[in-house]
Point group: C2
Chain length 123, copies 2
């Protein structure tokens, strides 16, 4: 069963996107694997304190990307081939790195300052 223990709500971005990204990141980390059972829409919405429709939107998006399999009436499961995992990993890393680099460059931060910043905030 996929765990949402590490999930924490941020404000700013839509909740359904946060859920989508959470599951993708957990998959990249290897904590969510192919065939893992997902909590039902109702159970997860109660756990996170959000509306079932919001969770449904997340699951629908993931199913459209082929990362979830849902049969009407039955439980939902993760579908994670090696190829899909590679695609998701590359997608997440690129978007994360590009956004950070772009922002810091606009602030006039040098590469050395940026590296030192990340190193410091890593712990």
């Amino acid at each position: 069963m996929v765990s949402f223990e590490r999930f924490t709500m941020e404000d700013g971005s839509p909740i359904y996107q946060q859920i989508v990204l959470y599951l993708k990141r957990e998959a990249v980390a290897g904590r969510v694997m192919d065939g893992d059972e997902l909590p039902s829409r109702r159970v997860l919405s109660a756990l996170l304190g959000v509306n079932p429709n919001t969770v449904q939107k997340s699951y629908r998006i993931l199913e459209e990307e082929g990362l979830i399999q849902s049969h009407s009436g039955a439980k939902s499961y993760m579908v994670l081939s090696g190829q899909k995992l590679s695609r998701v990993t590359a997608e997440l890393l690129e978007s994360e790195a590009k956004a950070a680099v772009r922002t810091l460059k606009q602030m006039g931060i040098s590469k050395e300052e940026a590296m030192a910043l990340f190193s410091r905030y890593w712990e």
Copy 2:
């Protein structure tokens, strides 16, 4: 006169927030300085292709933070003491670093992998 040459619209976050962040980053970079004249609400809205009310919202937020001074009927100017600049710099760097580190850690990326990733995407 403050330039918006480097401004590019992203989708995802509100436009008024993008304008606020743009001006803060330009100030941190030193390209926007104390006393600099800002484009009027109408001129900037036409330049960016957005509604004047959206620009007004950005300027109002910046004024509430003390980074802009507006007199009814007259032009608006940046107000950037060294203290304010330090505060903004720290605020932007911390939020940027924290967000990136948090995301990459959830993906199970090691510190070394993360540093290599940033180094590669810096160009």
